[in-house]
């Protein structure tokens, strides 16, 4: 297995793992956040504006971790710097 194949294999596998685990944690966290917010909304409907705004801001914070994983896996798949390096290296020889 030459280095380009190795880089491609590792990139694809790691991209899948990164997206998978990167979605797992934020999904659990967002579920907890929304469930708690719904409980609070049921208890205090008057505070719905504050709860909703805080919920949105919090969800954005949680979701950004998933977005980081997604961006990293996209970079691994479509803009892999190591891949480009090895291809340039191989064609240069």
């Amino acid at each position: 297995m030459d280095s380009v194949t190795a880089v491609a294999l590792v990139s694809i596998v790691i991209a899948g793992i990164a997206t998978g685990f990167g979605c797992l944690g934020p999904a659990l966290a967002e579920g907890r956040a929304v469930a708690t917010a719904l409980t609070s909304l049921a208890q205090q409907p008057d505070a719905s504006a504050t709860i909703t705004r805080t919920l949105f801001v919090g969800l954005a914070m949680i979701e950004s971790t998933a977005i980081y994983c997604f961006v990293v896996s996209m970079i691994l798949m479509f803009a892999n710097p190591f891949w480009n390096y090895f291809i340039a290296h191989a064609s240069g020889k």
Binding site: A49, T50, R53, T54, F56, V57, G58, A60, M61, E63, S64, I67, Y68, F70, V71, M74, F78, A79
Partner: protein, 231 residues
Amino acid sequence: MRLSPDETILWQHGFLKLNATIVFTWGLMLVLAVSSRLITRRLSTGLKRSRWQNLLEIVVTAIEKQIADVGLIHPKKYLGFLGTLFLFVATASLCTILPGYDPPTGSLSTTAALALCVLMAVPLFGIEERGLGGYLKSYVEPTVIMLPFNVISELSRTLALAVRLFGNMMSGAMIVGILLSITPFIFPIVMTALGLLTGMVQAYIFSILAAVYIAAATRVRRPEPAPGATQ
């Protein structure tokens, strides 16, 4: 596969490149500025108003109310900056229903520029409200040991702002592109509709987070833990 509209080069002369991001940003600026100018040219204070004036009033008062809810005492002062951020990001994602359009917020350059604006605006508003000493003092609260962490949090939340908006916008376009190649035509349409919703939520979140950061920097009394102020 294209990751961002940066890679679509429409015009090139020497080292000057005009890519799709810049062109769409200029287009959005033109649409927003010209339409606002046209609407506000003949404002009426009576009972009879044009429908466009009503629309603009709803938008402006809604943004102002949201800013006031975050805890900023004079929302009118921040309306220009935060409202512009919201309107730009919201229009950029709303226009995705037009064929041939790529949202300029799907490029990391645009979102980094917007986040840098927030990074610059937060100290400016803070110094204006609390004075230079008062603002700098907020970095060494509660103790001096927290100084590097406060600086790091300032930088990391800027990075988070930029990457969050970029990731959301880019993923919307990318998922539609992938679905187009593997599923019947109805699913990309559904995902586009979902992308419109995500775009509005992201515009809301971007401006609300900027407002929260500004509120944390301009707060004169003892700071209370604001939502998301620590990241």
